[in-house]
């Protein structure tokens, strides 16, 4: 069970949060102009890597805010937490 440092509320237990999948996948601004393949890429394709992964999390039973997390999937170490709109940490 993670201890997650919500950027708005501070450290809280994982059970207050909801994971929201891979981060930094922007919804296409002009979906109608995409081919089926391009749209499918946005819609269905998600990474599942061993190592540092950028994820969206929601403090569902708290402030209800979405934020981003860089997590090492091999050992569940949370490397960084940053707000929506902020750039992912480089290292």
């Amino acid at each position: 069970m993670f201890l997650i440092n919500c950027p708005y509320c501070g450290e809280r237990d994982q059970q207050e949060f909801k994971a929201g999948g891979e981060a930094h996948i922007e919804r296409p601004k002009q979906p109608t102009e995409l081919s089926d393949d391009e749209w499918a890429e946005y819609l269905f394709m998600r990474k599942n890597i061993k190592g540092v992964q950028f994820e969206r999390w929601n403090h569902a039973h708290g402030c209800r805010k979405w934020f981003n997390m860089a997590r090492d999937t091999s050992n569940d170490e949370i490397k960084a937490i940053y707000k929506i709109g902020e750039k992912p940490p480089t290292q």
Binding site: M1, G20, Q30, L34, D36, L43, N58, W66
Partner: protein, 1001 residues
């Protein structure tokens, strides 16, 4: 005549407090402080159970939670019975009853014992290999196998005990209250850190507390005496909380640990009453100090499982702590010095030690001289090749070991005994350490897995960290604590230590016998009856991964999770396969460390507390009026209101008719309500719904369909424009929370530029839905001032009015196809308004109806229920709702997906109506639909999603999804059921009032 093996009084046993208990139906006596195991041994009971597979007689092997053999059924044949309890952990109390497991008719004469002689027929993988043919017979085999499998019996009635959960936050958690744990906890607390010290036993002090080795001294006192004094002073320390009888079950990430605190199991029956039995502690610790100690290893040799064969350390504990001798003719068998301490302890208490068999060539430890002085014979370089004695060990045969340790030489010597202490060295208890995700490293010289590295959040101290000798333990502890707690000094910096050192080592995982391995039974996993032979067989058959060998042989898969024998299994695999143990690794250590009852895991969340229930403000009225309830999400919704003697079917038929003929009333408070405000609210709705919203006039309502980005229908509901920048959205009852979450997600992450605020107001409003041709008259009685004419208050519009000074929002919307009004009031007035409607409606025979009638009425109209007629694979086009998908809007959630090649296919499953040939047959929801009856394999075209008998049409109606359904209008299809095939015709989804005339009736 049973012999009493109680020796002399022990300070840990209260001999003034005699306790009677029953074992296998017979009454025995023990003392306060005894475990069931120590009390049984004191009564000279050594045979306590039968093994799992071969039904071999088994006795008590250990003195702690690692016990594989002495597992018993507590309070058999009662509702508080508990299987597989370890006799070594059960503290006896007045009235305790226990019985042996896995034996019939009794532990002394067990029919299943025949398996022992059939053992050659039961190799590893026996069941997989034997019950393969003929394939169709498996079910018959399974019945017989299941019947003879398993250990104890689970209770079959409700658990009457109370369990609890507690959250704990602390600065430092110390697991294990041996000498290391106590010193660590004390120093953490003294440095102003909120400290919690846990131990699974009822006494603090670990194994040091009953230490009697005069060579181990602290500040010139016996280590045990010194520690007792320290423990006495612990209670005066602030910031230190100590919990005994508390076993840490799991160590998860981020220092989150679960522990089971046992509160009443040791109390007399009458003292247990109305008390919490066990509590699950959910601990989040800033730092964790693991001081979980080490487990003594057995030795693996032929017939090493007989009652009376025990761990050497357990024999020492029984004599020093419980004051019980395990035998009168004791022999020790060892590969290290620790057995000599046990032997000397017995000797000093006047208990006879016949001999010590040591596989090493010699040892120069100080204690050897004392053993020699005591006149105890030591057989160096010898091993046990066989043991005798069926229900209790009676003798051993020993032979000289060859230099390489793989065979035996010389002549056989037989020595009689009634107790054999085995000492195979020590395995650090790294279970919790590895559960936390940390890695182990193998110490090739000492043949132990030890923690690879300490971190800022976690350290392992004492023997679980690989330190076994007193000076080593204390010195390393001191050094580690300073670093870990970031302190300059500890209160034991200048402690004076003296102890013996072990210098001679020899480790042989599988000891040889004079017989070939095929003829021996060297048990590795006692509980599951897995022998070294089975492991070798698995390797011969090609298994290489230890995880596979484990599952094939079931080594380490018992309730003890192989705490004793797992290391030997690894060693034997490594030796046989010619690989290094460090490279082989270990199997995964999984929680719980010791078994937990389900009661502890679920805590208070049983019965009515299983889940939270949500009730509407009108709930009391529904109960008074005998409503039956249905669970919808967490809500308790009125399902139907049966009158005297009515069945559900009859009630629903009556309610449905009344709602169409005169007036009905439904509690719709559970619908999700989201308040939407902001200057971009209209644009926001445009983006989330498939239809257009910018032109919706203030005071008007509109039905909206919400898709997922994949184009599939997600939710629906009516949204009302209250003012320029203010809307109220309704969602399905079950979807409310998810819809809000999804909308928030888009607002926060995709469209942060929109000025929109969302608030859930589901619980703030109560909703009474008035429906039927007389609903207008009823509403008119309640609000005479409001002009209800179709011109002033048309269908799909909204008015805010006062009823008795209560602000109400009334929407004229309909889910039944009838003229209908939804009256929304602040929740606290819900019941009052409901009552008012009922009063006003009396003259029109207003009929309260529940969800079932609502479902029937809307099905007559072909209105969908998201989640019943849809299942996440239906687009609006599939639902024949093309009309609601805006062609003009550039984008909305899911729009692009409606133009994917797959969603555009013509022959997708589509929603249609179904009419049965015989109008009296009602289809079963979920029934499959086919077009051919005689074709095999038959193609499933779809299934029935909603089905009712319509009282208003006097025939059966159904909605269904059918492949290419839109092109099948009028086609005859079949619904094959178990006993009959039902003929159906594909029809329009709207069965009643196709022209929609009744909403203005």
């Amino acid at each position: 005549m049973t012999q009493n093996l109680r020796i002399k009084s022990s300070e840990f046993i209260d001999e003034t407090n005699r306790i009677s208990f029953k074992f296998d139906g017979k009454t025995y006596y023990g003392f306060k402080g005894d475990t069931l195991a120590s009390a049984l041994i004191a009564n000279n009971i050594h045979l306590v159970g039968r093994s799992f597979k071969y039904h071999r007689p088994r006795g008590i092997m250990t003195s702690g939670s690692e016990e594989p053999n002495a597992i018993v059924q507590i309070n058999p044949n009662s509702n508080i019975t508990e299987p597989n309890a370890r006799a070594t952990e059960i503290e006896i109390y007045e009235g305790l009853e226990a019985s042996s497991q896995n034996c019939w008719p009794s532990v002394n004469f067990d029919i299943g014992g025949i398996n022992n002689f059939l053992a050659p027929l039961f190799p590893a993988g026996f069941y997989y290999k034997t019950f393969m043919w003929p394939k169709s017979f498996w079910e018959k085999y399974e019945f017989l196998i299941r019947h003879s499998a398993g250990l104890g019996k689970s209770p079959n009635t409700r658990d009457p005990d109370i369990y609890d959960h507690r959250n704990i936050h602390c600065d430092v958690l110390v697991v294990g209250a041996g000498i290391s744990g106590i010193l660590a906890a004390r120093n953490a607390a003294k440095n102003n850190l909120k400290t919690l010290l846990l131990d699974e036993k009822n006494e603090l002090g670990g194994s040091t507390i009953f230490e009697a080795n005069e060579d181990n001294k602290i500040n010139n006192n016996l280590a045990s005496e010194w520690l007792k004094k320290e423990i006495n002073e612990l209670k005066n320390i602030k910031n230190l909380e100590i919990k005994t009888r508390t076993s840490v079950a799991a160590y998860h990430q981020y220092n989150y640990l679960l522990a089971r605190e046992n509160l009443t199991d040791h109390l007399n029956k009458k003292d247990k009453k109305n008390k919490i039995r066990q509590r699950l502690l959910k601990i989040r610790a800033k730092k964790v100090i693991l001081a979980t100690g080490a487990l003594e290893r057995p030795l693996i040799f032929n017939n090493n499982d007989r009652p009376g064969i025990m761990l050497s350390s357990a024999i020492k504990k029984y004599s020093n702590f419980y004051g019980v001798a395990c035998g009168t003719k004791n022999i020790f068998f060892t590969n290290n010095d620790s057995a000599y301490e046990s032997a000397l302890s017995l000797h000093n208490k006047g208990i006879n030690v016949e001999a010590i068999i040591d596989i090493r060539e010699n040892s120069d430890a100080k204690i050897i001289k004392k053993i020699n002085d005591a006149g105890i014979k030591i057989y160096w370089s010898h091993t046990i090749v066989d043991t005798r004695g069926y229900k209790r060990i009676s003798s051993i045969s020993i032979m000289r070991l060859s230099n390489d340790g793989t065979s035996v030489t010389g002549s056989k010597i037989s020595i009689s005994c009634d107790c054999l202490g085995i000492a195979g060295g020590w395995t650090p208890a790294v279970h919790l350490y590895t559960q936390s995700g940390s890695k182990l490293t193998f110490d090739e010289e000492r043949k132990i897995f030890i923690p690879k590295a300490d971190t800022k959040e976690q350290i392992s101290v004492g023997s679980c960290g690989g330190d076994f000798e007193l000076d080593e333990i204390i010195t390393n502890l001191n050094y580690k604590l300073k670093n870990f707690l970031n302190i300059d000094k500890t209160d034991f910096d200048s402690i004076a230590l003296e102890n013996d050192h072990e210098t001679s080592k020899r480790n042989i995982w599988l000891l040889p016998s004079d017989q070939s391995i095929g003829k021996t039974k060297p048990f590795v996993d006692y509980q599951n009856d897995a022998t070294a032979k089975d492991i070798k067989l698995a390797l011969r058959e090609g298994f290489r991964s230890i995880e596979h060998v484990k599952r094939y042989t079931t080594t380490g898969m018992g309730t003890d999770q192989g705490k004793l024998g797992n290391m030997h299994a690894l060693g034997i695999i490594a030796d046989t396969a010619g690989v290094k143990m460090g490279e082989l690794g270990t199997t995964t250590f999984r929680p719980p460390y010791t078994p937990l009852t389900f009661g502890t895991i679920v805590g208070r969340n049983v019965g009515e507390f299983f889940d939270t229930f949500r009730r509407t403000p009108m709930n009391d009225w529904h109960i008074k009026n005998k409503a039956e309830f249905e669970n919808v999400g967490q809500w308790k919704r009125s399902w139907y209101y049966p009158k005297e003697g009515e069945t559900m079917y009859q009630a629903v038929q009556r309610e449905s008719k009344a709602a169409r003929q005169s007036a009905g009333i439904l509690d719709a408070s559970t619908l999700g309500k989201i308040d939407i405000q902001g200057s971009d609210a209209s644009e926001f709705l445009n983006r989330v719904y498939t239809n257009a919203w910018s032109k919706l006039a203030i005071g008007k309502c509109r039905y909206g369909l919400m898709l997922n980005e994949d184009g599939m229908v997600y939710d629906d509901g009516v949204t009302t424009r209250l003012s320029e920048n203010h809307y109220i959205m309704t969602t399905t009852t079950g979807g409310a929370a998810n819809v809000l979450g999804k909308l928030e997600d888009y607002l926060q992450t995709e469209w942060p530029e929109l000025d929109v605020y969302l608030t859930s107001v589901t619980d703030h409003f109560a909703t009474a839905s008035l429906c039927g041709p007389n609903s207008k008259k009823i509403l008119n009685k309640i609000i005479p001032d409001l002009d209800l004419s179709d011109d002033n208050f048309p269908h799909m519009s909204f008015r805010e009015v006062l009823i008795d000074k209560i602000k109400c929002r009334i929407m004229r919307i309909s889910f039944t196809g009838e003229l209908s009004y939804e009256i929304n009031v602040p929740a606290s007035y819900g019941e009052a308004i409901w009552q008012k409607c009922i009063e006003a409606g009396k003259e029109f025979n207003i009929t309260p109806y529940g969800t079932e009638t609502m479902h029937l009425l809307r099905a007559e109209k072909g209105f969908i229920i998201v989640g019943q007629d849809t299942d996440g694979t239906m687009t609006p086009i599939d639902l024949q709702m093309d009309w609601i998908v805006s062609k003009k809007k550039y984008d909305f959630i899911g729009k692009r997906s409606l133009y994917r090649s797959d969603t555009m296919k013509q022959d997708r499953k589509q929603l249609v109506g179904l009419l049965t040939e015989d109008p009296n047959i009602v289809l079963e929801e979920g029934a499959q639909i086919v077009s051919e009856l005689n074709q095999k394999p038959v193609e499933m075209l779809g299934h029935v999603t909603s089905s009712y008998f319509s009282p208003n049409l006097n025939k059966s109606i159904a909605l269904a999804v059918v492949k290419d359904g839109k092109n099948m209008m009028g086609r005859k299809l079949f619904v094959p059921m178990e006993n009959k095939n039902i003929s159906v015709t594909v029809a329009n989804t709207v069965f009643y009032d196709e022209k929609n005339e009744r909403i203005n009736a």
